[in-house]
């Protein structure tokens, strides 16, 4: 298949299939997970077809018109990096969806679960293959939304709601910063295209020389950091663990959180190579790596430990992508990309193990678990290999990329010089030490030691069922394979990604054993320190707990909660003022607003004249006119002050007939006729309704309230009067109305003599269709209101 078609199909297939899942569920029931896995596998196969092209160094580039008026097209760009991410997304997707068929109870709302998983997968593929920033933003926010839905999958649990809201606020909010950064990038470079900027030395120079460079970098990095839980934005990831465990394994360790790192890699050719990049990206990464690794100690939930570990590992990636100088822009790129792949394998495995343990032992609390190695031997082996890879034990893949991390840390330290030659490697080793310690804790806490006899844990814990174990075993196979034979992933995936985004990338040689070098000594130091310090693990955790109890305000979460809770309270207070509930205040406020809306311009326009009322008002009137006006006012007054309904309605009706008389005087015979008919009908409806009601409602009318109401209605009446008498003075320049067109064309175009009728049925026929629809809707509404009567025994009235 044509590779660009394959990419487009892979991106949109999940979106299309997701709509059919509820139907498929009717046929396949709980086996629907296998359908979703098959879709993921199809996407994997489609993306895999692109690998030969990226290995040959010819990225796929294609473009379709999307919003030509806004200068936007749907651009895809399939280079090594995009293919790597897409293969991770679809590959882990297959594994997760198969695993879910065993993990998710058949009582759950499975179609919704797989729908959101597939939507997420499609959105991630969209992020991977996009080639313009607007498209990137759209798919990016789509991943945030699907993540929100999946974290909040168990809708009834308050923790899920809290976690989902937090994740959405942080990641989607960060996405908005990223969007602002993209717009700045557009200003600096003149295009929304990504590969277009990266491929043109002129545009690159524009971006780097622009005074917007730093702002662009910071804004885009905020987006990346919030998605990848870096720096202060880490707070959402631990709470996101409220999601079902397969979701955590998929979104919150292997794929979605990689989107931020991916963005950094994608922006690498455009923005890297400056001190700002090194300080911002590596600085944030190194800080996060150490802090998150350290904070993992006090966690007692397996998934929480894994969450902090994920934050710390993502920080490795950030740090390495940040290693960049003007001469060596892509110093840490290859190492970071390799670690990105490896992290997906071992971290997803560990999450799957966490899911198995929670499933079989009914708890994820590490204090209640322990000694499960005998009862769950297969799971134990899987977990040990994955944890060892995370800790960097040879000959697993984690060892290789950690060695590369140490090596590049030494190099960047050497290049920057001064004290940094020491600081970079030392911080890297610190990160490694913490990783080793919590890796040991995971195995120690779950599988080693004595079996605790907590009442939450069942007496006999079974090993994992095949459907849940097989995906984990497959991933462990990859961990070992990549470790023993790194040539394969390096040549097919890492080298193309590296060469595609770093100009002048050298050929990568990665061997398992390359003699006793400084990085190897650093690894040895890491192991020695980690194993010694592990004796103090519980002590450190206890100290962290007492510290956080003593200084609750030294915590990002403290400020997040403060902001969100205050926002909620303040909104509540404001809406309590502006939306008190009873309808009276709303009407009064609207009326007063309109009063000022009318009166302020009137005063403004009449300052020269000195008076709100124009000079030369015409008080001449025929006697019959005056009688008509007086009668109208009397009947309106009757409708206003008579307390009983029936006489009030009769007054209103009298007013209506008088109004039709007035229409005659105003030279509107059609209106007069219509008014007579309508008034008759509405009087009938009024009387039908009030027949069934009590004839009078004793409303308390305290004097003060009457005065206020009189004042408001007097002001409204005065405003109407002022507008009317001023209307023909000509505050605006006069221009002829459209009406003359109708008069002129009436006979010629329609043959109608009555111009009003011609307008209603001919010139403005669409308005009349609208009017008829309103009438039918009102009739339907009346009909349904009558039908909606509870019990419905009484005969309805007709209308």
């Amino acid at each position: 298949m044509d590779p660009s078609n394959a990419i487009v199909i892979a991106v949109f297939l999940p979106f299309i299939v997701t709509w059919t899942l509820p139907l498929l569920y009717k046929v396949f029931k709980q086996r629907i997970g296998w359908i979703a896995a098959a879709i993921a596998f199809t996407c994997f196969a489609l993306v895999a077809q692109v690998v030969p092209y990226t290995m040959a160094g010819t990225p796929i580039k294609d473009s379709w018109l999307w919003l030509p008026s806004a200068g936007l097209s749907f651009d895809i760009y399939g280079d090594g990096m995009a293919v790597l991410l897409a293969l991770i997304v679809t590959g882990v997707g297959v594994i997760i969806m198969s695993y879910s068929t065993g993990y998710m109870s058949t009582k759950e709302d499975l179609p919704r679960y797989y729908q959101w998983l597939l939507l997420f997968m499609g959105a991630m593929l969209g992020v991977a293959f996009t080639d313009n920033t607007i498209q990137m933003f759209v798919f990016w926010e789509l991943t945030s939304i699907t993540s929100f839905m999946l974290i909040g999958y168990w809708r009834e649990r308050p923790e899920s709601i809290y976690g989902a809201t937090k994740a959405l606020l942080v990641t989607a909010g960060g996405g908005l910063f990223m969007f602002a950064g993209f717009l700045l990038l557009r200003i600096a470079s003149g295009t929304y295209g990504i590969s277009e900027v990266a491929g043109s030395s002129e545009l690159l120079a524009n971006v780097h020389d622009s005074e917007l460079y730093v702002a662009t970098l910071i804004l885009i990095f905020i987006g990346a950091a919030s998605k990848s839980a870096q720096g202060p934005f880490y707070i959402w990831l631990p709470n996101a663990m409220e999601a079902p465990t397969p979701v955590s394994a998929f979104l919150h360790s292997a794929t979605m959180v990689k989107a931020g790192v991916y963005l950094v890699a994608r922006m690498h050719p455009i923005l890297s190579g400056t001190p700002e990049w090194l300080i911002l990206v590596s600085g944030t990464g190194m800080f996060t790596m150490v802090m998150a690794g350290f904070l993992a100690f006090r966690q007692t939930d397996i998934k929480a430990i894994l969450a902090y570990s994920t934050i710390s590992q993502l920080a490795y990636l950030m740090t390495m992508y940040g290693y960049s100088t003007a001469e060596h822009p892509g110093l840490g790129f290859a190492a970071a990309t390799f670690h990105l792949l490896n992290h997906s394998t071992f971290k997803a495995t560990l999450f799957l193990v966490a899911g198995i343990v929670a499933h079989e032992a009914a708890t994820r609390d590490i204090r209640k678990l322990g000694g499960l190695r005998k009862e769950m031997p297969k799971t134990f082996i899987v977990a040990v290999i994955a944890a060892a890879s995370m800790a960097g034990v040879p000959p697993l893949n984690g060892f290789l990329s950690k060695e590369m991390f140490y090596e590049t840390s030494l190099e960047i330290g050497h290049l920057v010089g001064g004290p940094w030659a020491l600081i970079f490697p030392v911080v890297a080793v610190m990160g490694g030490v913490f990783t080793l310690m919590y890796s040991i804790k995971l195995i120690d806490g779950i599988f080693l030691g004595e079996r605790t006899h907590d009442h939450d844990v069942p007496h006999h814990v079974h090993d994992a069922p095949l459907v849940m174990l097989a995906p984990a075993v497959f991933l462990v196979g990859l961990i070992i394979f990549f470790g023993l034979y790194p040539k394969f992933p390096i040549e097919t995936l890492i080298q193309p990604a590296y060469s595609g985004l770093v100009p002048g990338a050298e050929h990568l040689h990665i061997k398992l054993w390359h003699g006793i070098t400084t990085p190897f000594l650093m690894t040895v130091a890491t192991f020695a320190t980690g194993i010694i310090l592990y004796r103090f693990y519980n002590g450190i955790a206890a100290w962290q707990n007492s510290f956080s109890a003593r200084f609750p305000w030294i915590s990002v979460n403290y400020y997040y909660d403060w902001t969100v809770n205050n926002a909620r309270d303040v909104t509540h207070k404001i809406s309590a003022v502006f939306q008190p509930g009873p309808i009276g205040p709303y009407i009064k406020a609207s009326l007063l607003f309109m009063f000022f809306l009318a009166m302020v311009p009137l005063f403004y326009f009449h300052i020269p004249a000195g008076s709100i009322l124009p000079a030369g008002m015409n008080f001449n009137a025929q006697p019959y006119e005056i009688v008509l006006y007086a009668l109208m006012l009397v009947s309106a007054l009757g409708a206003m002050i008579i307390p009983r309904y029936l006489p009030a309605v009769i007054s209103l009706s009298a007013l209506g007939f008088l109004v039709s008389l007035l229409y005659m005087y105003l030279k509107a015979p059609d209106l007069a006729m219509t008014q007579v008919c309508v008034e008759t009908l509405s009087t009938i409806v009024f009387i039908l309704v009030i027949m069934k009601m009590p004839q009078k409602f004793k409303e308390p009318m305290p004097m003060g309230k009457v005065m206020v109401n009189l004042l408001i209605s007097g002001a409204v009446g005065f405003a109407v009067f002022a507008i009317m008498v001023n209307a023909n003075v000509g505050m605006l320049g006069s221009f002829e109305s459209f009406s003359q067109y109708f008069i002129e064309k009436s006979m010629a175009m329609t043959g109608g003599l009555n111009v009003v009728n011609v307008i209603v049925v001919d010139f403005r026929g669409y308005d009349t269709i609208g009017e008829i629809s309103v009438l039918s809707l009102a009739a339907l509404g009346v009909y349904n209101l009558i039908l909606s009567r509870a019990g419905g025994a009484e005969g309805g009235e007709d209308e």
Binding site: P582, I587, K588, M617, F619, A621, E625, I626, Y629, A639, M640, Y645, A648, V649, L655, G656, Y663, L666, K667, A668, L671, T674, Q675, L681, S682, F686, V689, I690, K692, M693, F697, E699, N709, I712, S713, G714, F721, M724, A727, N728, G733, F735, E736, S737, F738, S739, Q740, F742, I743, E744, A748, L753, N754, V755, V756, I759, L775, A779, L785, E799
Partner: protein
């Protein structure tokens, strides 16, 4: 329309209707609604009446075609006038367009009146009151 007494009448109607709308009794509110719609309709129709204008019904065989209508002139934009212009004021007939608009409004007014009356009736049936504040209290 330069008829101060008519303007006064219409605005008094408007004020009385407003007073009723501010009441708590839902039936009074509906009656007030009716009065205000009368006032608004009259207001719009009155704005289209010129003192010498005829009823907008043509005589048989009368072809009004004076060729002075609709010279859309972009130069007028500079003068701040957005719309078709004629060289001379055209006041042979009163304005038919406002009448057509109000015709629609009257009919729609009937529909809405019927609807809110039925609604009021159903509210009375369900809650046993026509007091807006009482209803608010019942809903909590």
């Amino acid at each position: 329309m330069n008829n101060t007494l008519l303007a006064l009448t219409i605005s008094l109607l408007f004020g009385m209707g407003t007073f009723l709308i501010l009441r708590r009794d839902i039936m009074k509110v509906i009656i007030g609604f009716g009065i205000v719609s009368h006032a608004v309709n009259l207001y719009i129709v009155a704005s289209g009446v010129f003192s010498e204008g005829k009823v907008p019904i043509l005589e048989h065989g009368e072809h009004v075609n004076q060729g002075l209508v609709y010279n859309d002139n972009l130069a007028n934009l500079a003068a701040g006038i957005v719309g078709p212009t004629t060289t001379a004021p055209y006041t042979e007939f009163v304005d038919p367009l406002v009448q057509a608009l109000v015709l629609t409004a009257i009919v729609i007014g009937l529909a809405t009146t019927a609807f809110i009356l039925t609604l009021a009736y159903r509210i009375y049936e369900e809650y046993g009151t026509t007091d807006v504040q009482e209803l608010r209290r019942l809903w909590g």
